[in-house]
Amino acid sequence: MIRQDRIIALISNNFAGRVIITKTYVDELHLKTAKNELPILALKLHDWGFPLIQLTATDERDIHGQFRLFYTFANDNEKFLMVVSVSIAETEPSFPSLTNKVPAAHWYEREIRDLFGLDPIGHPDKRCLAVHEDWPEELYPLRKDFRLDTEVLRTNGQFQYNKVEGEGVMKVPVGPIHAGIIEPGHFRFSAVGDTVINLEARLFYTHRGMEKLAEGKTPLDALLIVERICGACSFSHTTSYCQALEKLSGTEVSTRVNYIRTVVLELERLYNHVGDVGNICAGVGFAFGTMHGARLKEDLMRLNEKVFGSRFLRGINTPGGLRRDISVLDSGLIRVALDELEHDFRDLVGIMLDTNSFIDRVLTTGILLNRTANDLHAVGPAARASGVDRDVRRDHPYAAYDRVSFKVPVYKQGDVLARIKVRIDETFESINIIRQILSEMPSGELTKPLGKIIPFNYAVGMTESARGENVHFIMIGKDNTIYRYMVRSASYVNWPVVPSTVPGNIIPDFPVINKSFELCYSCLDR
């Protein structure tokens, strides 16, 4: 019996003839339905407990005169994804919005409106998102008839922030350029005294057009773009990307490749988590934690460079395998470094968690409610600190995660402290995973040529980065080039929950709350 049998039966019982199964991969099921059936099917899937993890569009007018929407739902128990596709006629460029029933759809739908010009009918917030207010109306950058190098003039558009009114309400605008060495975003606080009553985040400042840039490129050329979507999750992004392409081309990478990828993915998590735990201390001026965290992070980045030639783990992955192998000597280097790190980091977090002035600032600060986390599909350490027991490594195993044993730490409190604790626990789990992998490293070939992919086939690749689930959608066009590429990073789904955690806290607590989520701007803005 294949994984999808139960759901296929369920769907044919409920939607006989109205939903067609178009393709089945081991861990992916493709469904097709009509535009008017979509809300019914999507709500049913949502009610059956499958979260919406990605929603994107393609412009296929040059093939069959229509746009298409792709809704991806995750079935964590049976470990597969369901991608529902819907065609949208050019003459009727709109689709029913799901946001009121499935809040996780909110940003995707706005982004599709901005980039493809398809109108989500019934969406409660139709302000621009991915393009800014000075972008002209009726110009949609991800449509195929929009050229990448188009010069776009600025218009006089105005952005309407949500109105917060009342006696003593002060507005505090911050950014996009910040005081520290941080990425750009605009935050608009409405506060009474020091207490925040509303926060609105304005993002997409670093939109570089990475998805458009990848179109028409070969998988190898696009890989370099994927590596540069984000500095800190570079390897996780390339792994999602490679997995999607390997799925599409039926390429099965060797066990060795899967093992090495697991090591690198965990090394990436380690330098991020250790650095983040230190950085959170910077949010409350606890210099001891910041400096020791920075020191340990630097040790890990130097290890990355020694073993792989890149501090940010670039230049390692390639579709069909790896560009770099690790030697026995490298394994030894990693082992020694991990032994030192484990000891040092345990010392450091022991002191941190025993320091009352530090705990006082992070305990009960910036609470993310479990319900909000579920409704908006928050992911990663942030969600796990709010009682959401999800981890792609366990629920949709990839690379060699089905060969190792590890715990997924979950806390219920949802505050800054819980997010720190999740990262601390995961750091020790990562060390443990790498040790298991290194002790039984199999031999195997490093790369396999990627087979030819049938034009206009699509697939989804998913990994768990240090920030959470990273979902990449790839559709291949003619001549094995990328036709459409959509990156839904962990930051994409976690950014909308951040403002919900701030009201009731004081403005000076915002830096620590923000750092405890440790989200990327570039991962979101692309």
């Binding site: 060495i181 939109h207 057009g209 920075a294 020191r295 460079e305 501090r311």
Partner: protein, 237 residues
């Protein structure tokens, strides 16, 4: 409190002695490609595969040879892989290029205040800049420090290709910085647009928007390369 002191004393000094002592990356480092001309048959595969068109054929008096523009190179190593005979990825990473006729040595001396300006980077350059203020690179020991406002800054370190959505902020930040000021383009995206190039969303490099005094290539530049660039900017390297 005693545990804090104990931990820090036990850790000891971790600060690097760069730039007094050079840091040489281990073999396998993804550095700038280097041609061994005697083995090169000038087939041009390297230039064809280069994703940012950084590799060009140069003509000398009697010969021709390949050169790579560090400001465009993203250090991907594709040229090395396609060539297999004449190109190696070298350990070169201190690649700062200054356009200053005379460095502002007098104006800044040994107290230089830097403002980071993210114009759409992937955050890798930003992370390396953050590292500079940590215990390992500790650039305060060299007379540099990061400040919170452009109004307090002598130097703007700009990362990213300048996205459409940040162009106005870049202009405003530059205008808010008092003269004399220096602009450093940090990382390949800032130096030339890099992988992002010029598009509807990207201006294709900081020098298309502001006049740049020092380019610090790298994808991202190593922390030592950032220090070298800073020292170069103030005439100390």
């Amino acid at each position: 409190m005693l545990r804090l002191f104990h931990k820090s004393l036990k850790t000891g000094t971790v600060t690097t002695d760069y730039p007094e002592k050079r840091s040489v990356p281990v073999p396998g480092f993804q550095g700038l490609p280097e041609w061994q001309n005697q083995s090169c048959i000038q087939c041009g595969l390297c230039a064809d595969i280069c994703p940012t068109k950084a590799i060009k054929l140069q003509y000398g008096k009697n010969d021709s040879f390949w050169t790579v523009d560090p400001k465009k190179c993203i250090f991907c190593g594709y040229c090395v892989e396609v060539c297999k005979r004449a190109i190696v990825q070298s350990g070169q990473y201190e690649l700062a290029e200054s356009t200053l006729q005379t460095p502002h040595v007098q104006a800044f001396k040994h107290s230089v205040h830097i403002r980071h300006l993210d114009s759409g980077s992937c955050n890798a350059c930003d992370w390396e800049m953050t590292t500079l203020t940590g215990p390992v690179y500790d650039i305060q020991r060299l007379g540099f420090d990061f400040v919170a406002s452009p109004r307090h800054a002598d130097v703007l370190m700009v990362t990213g290709p300048v996205t459409r959505n940040l162009e106005i902020a870049v202009h405003k930040t530059y205008a808010a910085t008092p003269a004399p000021k220096l602009v450093l383009a940090v990382g390949t995206c800032a130096c030339s647009g890099g992988i992002c190039g010029k598009s509807y969303a990207s201006a294709g490099g900081v020098d298309n928007i502001l006049s740049v005094d020092v380019f610090i290539p790298g994808c991202p530049p190593r922390p030592q390369a950032l220090i070298q660039g800073l020292l170069k900017a103030v005439g100390r390297a």
